[in-house]
């Protein structure tokens, strides 16, 4: 076809996008490559080996920290997504009422506060509670993570809700669905892609956190990031690359699953 004029195209955008993806993945690719280094450097290639995967596998501290990271991220992401979903429902598709703007700002507040500030404040607060209650389990980390994950979960869910037609819930009520049933059978299934997006985002944000975790964690509560932070003063070995590689593979798997989970709904948008 001659002179095809595609209105969606902007000159150079595809190139920049490709460049962007290239920039995004080049470091990730080298990171993965050095996971297979036989030497102990993450920057000097000495040959192929799987020793670092083995080392990581045998390093109980790393394995435990990784599992703990995933555990905390899972709890935090699930709780954050759940409360964010409820909050999103409470703050969208309504006439303005007193407290609405407050709620909206308050929920987004954790985005505004520098991490180190929250970290120190939480250290002070939680230490007191730990001393009082004697409980020093993972709960503190989960609550702390949940708090800063909520806005990240909230944003996509809210966006999706706002685009969602209120008339569907009305139709459900019209057809004798109680508010709970309308939520269960109509709102929730339709909100699902937004919830998944929020969950994903919350999960990776939690997975990435160092500073707050470092200050809040109790004995035996290292996560992968705080474990790495501890290594910063010495040398990072390809063991870290090996772990990261495993995490990447894991993410790819999860992403693939999520992708197929959310697909049937995608069509019906």
């Amino acid at each position: 076809m001659r002179n095809r004029f595609d209105i969606r195209v902007q000159p150079g955008f595809a190139t920049i996008a490709m460049l962007c993806f290239f920039i995004l993945y080049l470091p990730i690719a080298t990171l993965v490559v050095y996971a297979f280094n036989s030497g102990s450097s993450i920057a000097r290639w000495e040959g192929f080996s799987l020793q670092w995967f083995a080392a990581a596998w045998n390093n109980t501290q790393v394995i435990e920290a990784s599992i703990r990271s995933v555990e905390i991220a899972t709890f935090a992401a699930v709780i954050a997504t759940a409360v964010a979903t409820l909050a999103a429902i409470a703050t969208t598709r309504t006439e303005a009422y007193r407290g609405l703007t407050f709620k909206y700002s308050f929920i987004n507040m954790p985005l505004m506060v520098p991490e180190i500030v929250t970290a120190v404040a939480l250290l002070i607060l939680f230490s007191r509670i730990k001393v009082w209650t004697g409980y020093s389990g993972l709960g503190y980390l989960i609550i702390a993570h949940t708090a800063f994950c909520v806005p990240f979960a909230y944003l996509p869910i809210r966006a999706r809700l706002e685009n969602m037609d209120l008339s569907l819930e009305r139709a459900a009520a019209d057809l004798y669905a109680t508010p709970f049933k309308a939520f269960r059978y109509i709102t929730l299934p339709l909100l699902w892609p937004g919830i998944l997006a929020g969950l994903m985002l919350a999960f990776v944000i939690s997975l990435d956190d160092v500073v707050i975790t470092e200050f809040v964690k109790s004995g035996g509560q290292d996560t992968l990031p705080t474990y790495m932070l501890g290594q910063l003063r010495r040398s990072i070995t390809p063991e870290m690359n090996a772990i990261s590689t495993v995490f990447l593979l894991l993410s790819l798997a999860v992403v693939t699953i999520f992708f197929f989970l959310s697909r049937p709904n995608e069509k019906t948008e």
Binding site: A17, F21, A90, F106, P114, V150, F259, R263
Partner: protein, 306 residues
């Protein structure tokens, strides 16, 4: 009051009460572990520093005084806290630059994704978020490997004969900028994508129909229409960039402090918690002011939320 009116009033009250109940868990968690603790920080900013960190429980405005003013340790003269101000200023500049760079990279990327066929968009989006699964520290080191003197980029450029000696990139502001844009890119792309996906391409068509060239369509139609996304993305990048401290340390060589490092210094080696606290509150205020400014501007163009 008639039965219907009563019913209406009841329904309205019930609705508002339900809305408060529904948002209660989120508000509670954030209040407890996100916003509430800020009051502790606020209180600490008005106390005296403890001898080896922590605070002494005595009222003092010393910390606030020290945020912007300083008494010279040698000649005792009073002057503007040059160090704090310049660190703050540099942080703002770098955060702005990061925002602009990630916008320059993120805008076309988000546009590219949004203009893919619907079934492929999710895949592209996931591709943007996957690097997030690698810890930020590790990503920082991976970038270090890219840009160090004997790193991949310099090696390739030298092999290609583009340059004859390595370019010093690591430990420069460029490195910080690159690294911060790198780690924050998804936060820019996601909200941008969200508003671009909603972009009504019929308006773009209308633009071309009315003799606008590609650039004019971009400038006068697409950009104004996705402005809410631009604002949301900018906020999401600007704020963490402003207070970030891992990336500047790893890639910038830590020679120059950012506000995040400065605060951390006070809570750490500096052992001056009240100063750290007052600096923190200052930072929060700056962030909120920037937010307000943005949001107000967003309101002016009638844009909604992303």
């Amino acid at each position: 009051m008639s039965g219907a009116q009563q019913a209406a009033e009841n329904a309205r009250r019930r609705d508002i009460r339900n809305r408060w109940l529904l948002s209660a868990p989120a508000l509670l968690i954030i209040g407890l572990a996100g916003v509430g603790p800020l009051f502790i920080v606020l209180v600490y900013s008005f106390l005296a520093p403890g001898n080896y960190g922590d605070v002494k429980w005595e009222f003092s405005t010393e910390a606030w005084f020290n945020v912007f003013l300083q008494r010279d340790i040698f000649d005792n003269t009073l002057s503007l806290a040059d160090a704090h101000v310049s660190i703050l200023w540099r942080s703002i500049k770098l955060a702005l630059a990061t925002t602009v760079l990630s916008l320059i990279l993120g805008f076309p990327t988000a546009y590219f994704i949004a203009s893919r066929p619907a079934s492929y968009r999710q895949v592209w989006l996931f591709l943007i978020t996957i690097p997030f699964w690698t810890n930020m520290l590790i990503r920082g080191f991976a970038i270090q490997e890219m840009i160090r003197n004997e790193g991949l980029v310099n090696t390739v450029l030298m092999k290609l004969g583009v340059i004859s000696a390595p370019i010093q990139m690591l430990y420069t502001d460029f490195a910080i900028l690159l690294g911060m844009a790198y780690v924050h890119l998804p936060l820019m792309v996601l909200p941008l994508y969200a508003s671009m996906e909603k972009l009504d391409f019929r308006l773009v068509e209308a633009g071309y129909d009315l003799y606008a060239t590609r650039f004019q369509v971009l400038r006068r139609i697409i950009i104004p229409l996705v402005k809410p996304g631009i604002i949301a993305g900018s906020i999401l990048v600007f704020i963490p960039a402003l207070s970030s401290y891992v990336i500047p340390r790893i890639l910038g060589g830590g020679k120059n402090l950012m506000i995040g490092n400065l605060i951390e210094l006070q809570f750490g080696q500096g052992r001056n918690w009240p100063l750290g606290a007052s600096l923190s509150i200052t930072l929060v205020i700056i962030v909120l002011a920037a937010m307000l400014y943005y949001v107000k501007n967003a309101g002016k163009t009638g844009g909604g939320h992303a």
